[in-house]
C-alpha cells in the first residue's frame, strides 16, 4: 500500500546518507490500482510539496505516462485528475525501494515497506 504521494515524500534515512537519497528507486514491483474518491482540493493544496521530476520519473518507471515533463503552472481539472490517479490510486504491493546514494534496499512485502535499519545504519 505504498502510494506515490507517500513515496514522493520519502528519502533514505540511513546514517550520513544525504546525497542521491531521494527518490528511492522501485524494482520488482507488483502494482495494484485502487479507485479512490477524488479530492481535487487536497491535490491542489499538495502541489507545492511535490518533487515533480521525481514523481514523473517514478510514475513512468511504473508504466504511467500521463504526467507532463514540466509541472504546469496552472493545473486543469483533467490534469489534477491524472495526478490524483498517480498519487492516490497506484499502490505498490510488493517490490523493493533502493537508495541510489548508499544502496540500502527497503523491501515492500504485503504492501508494507520495511524501514528498519541495522544498528550501524542508524543516525546520531
Amino acid at each position: 500500500m505504498v502510494r506515490l504521494i507517500t513515496h514522493n515524500m520519502l528519502a533514505c534515512h540511513v546514517r550520513n546518507c544525504n546525497k542521491d537519497n531521494f527518490p528511492l528507486i522501485f524494482s520488482e514491483v507488483e502494482l495494484v490500482i485502487r479507485e479512490t474518491p477524488e479530492n481535487l482540493d487536497f491535490i491542489r493544496r499538495f502541489l507545492p510539496k511535490l518533487d515533480w521530476t521525481a514523481l514523473v520519473d517514478t510514475a513512468r518507471s511504473l508504466g504511467d505516462t500521463t504526467l507532463p515533463d514540466e509541472q504546469p503552472v496552472e493545473m486543469t481539472d483533467d490534469q489534477l485528475r491524472a495526478l490524483h490517479h498517480v498519487l492516490m490510486e497506484m499502490h505498490v504491493e510488493e517490490g523493493n525501494m533502493t537508495c541510489r546514494g548508499c544502496g540500502h534496499v527497503y523491501p515492500i512485502s504485503n504492501g508494507i515497506p520495511n524501514m528498519l535499519l541495522a544498528e550501524h545504519e542508524v543516525g546520531r
Binding site: 515524500m9 520519502l10 479530492n39 482540493d41 504485503n110 524501514m115 542508524v122
Partner: protein, 222 residues
C-alpha cells in the same frame, strides 16, 4: 499490574495474540477513539480540509480509521508487524510502514500537516535490546519529526508516563529539537479519566492558538 512497556519491547509484546486482543477489545476501542478525537482537536487543523498526517505508532489502525472518517490522508508507522497485519485486514486507507521511530524518519522537510500518536511515546523510553540509549533515540525521533512537519503545524501525543522524570525528559528532548508547546492534562482530578497529551508546536502558530491549550476539567466535555 505491570506496565506493558516494562515487560518487553512493543514488537514482542504486541504479538499476534495481543494484537487481535487489543484491537477487538471494545473498551480499548472506545478510549482509543476518544483520545484520537481529542488529539485531532488539539492539532487545530484548518476546518473542513483534508490534511496529510502522520500517525506515529499507528498499531492496528484504530486511530487511522478516525483519520479516514475525517477525510484525512495519512501515513502510519509501527514497529509491531502483527499490529500492521491487523490494520491491513481492517482495510484502513493509510500507507503503513514497519518502522522503529527511535531510528528517526526520512520524510522530506515539511511533508506533514500534523502528526498524532496515541499511547506510544512511553515505549521509546524503555531500554531494550538496542545499544542506543533512550535519550539518543528520543533526540533522533524528535529532530527528524520536527524536520518532516510543515511550518506552522503541530504534533500531539497522548501518552502514559510512568514518572514526572519521564515527562521532563520527553519535554526537554522535544524542546531541544526545536518544538514549542507543552503538556496538556485532561481531567487532572479524576484518577480514571486523567489523560496526558504532549502538544508540540512547529513555527509561529496563529495568534489565537499560540498558547498551550487548556486541559478539559469535567468528564463528558468531549
Amino acid at each position: 499490574m505491570s506496565r506493558p512497556e516494562e515487560i518487553s519491547p512493543p514488537e514482542i509484546f504486541y504479538g499476534d495474540t495481543e494484537a487481535s486482543k487489543y484491537t477487538s477489545n471494545s473498551r480499548i476501542q472506545t478510549i482509543q477513539a476518544q483520545m484520537t478525537e481529542r488529539a485531532l482537536e488539539l492539532l487545530a487543523l484548518p476546518p473542513d480540509e483534508s490534511a496529510f498526517l502522520l500517525d506515529i505508532g499507528c498499531g492496528s489502525g484504530l486511530s487511522g480509521e478516525i483519520l479516514d472518517e475525517e477525510g484525512h490522508v495519512w501515513v502510519g508507522v509501527d514497529i509491531a508487524p502483527s499490529m500492521l497485519e491487523v490494520a491491513l485486514e481492517r482495510e484502513v486507507e493509510g500507507d503503513l510502514f514497519l518502522h522503529d521511530i527511535g531510528q528517526g524518519f526520512g520524510f522530506r522537510p515539511g511533508t506533514f500537516d500534523g502528526a498524532i500518536s496515541i499511547s506510544v511515546l512511553q515505549w521509546l523510553l524503555n531500554a531494550d535490546s538496542t545499544s542506543h540509549s533512550p535519550s539518543a533515540r528520543l533526540t533522533r525521533f524528535f529532530t527528524t519529526l520536527h524536520a518532516s512537519l510543515r511550518n506552522p503545524s503541530r504534533a500531539v501525543f497522548q501518552f502514559y508516563p510512568s514518572s514526572d522524570d519521564q515527562v521532563t525528559m520527553i519535554t526537554a528532548a522535544a524542546q531541544r529539537a526545536g518544538f514549542g508547546g507543552g503538556i496538556v492534562v485532561d481531567y487532572p482530578n479524576s484518577k480514571k479519566a486523567r489523560k496526558m497529551y504532549l502538544c508540540l508546536m512547529v513555527g509561529q502558530q496563529q495568534p489565537d492558538q499560540s498558547r498551550i491549550p487548556q486541559g478539559l476539567q469535567h468528564e463528558g466535555q468531549v
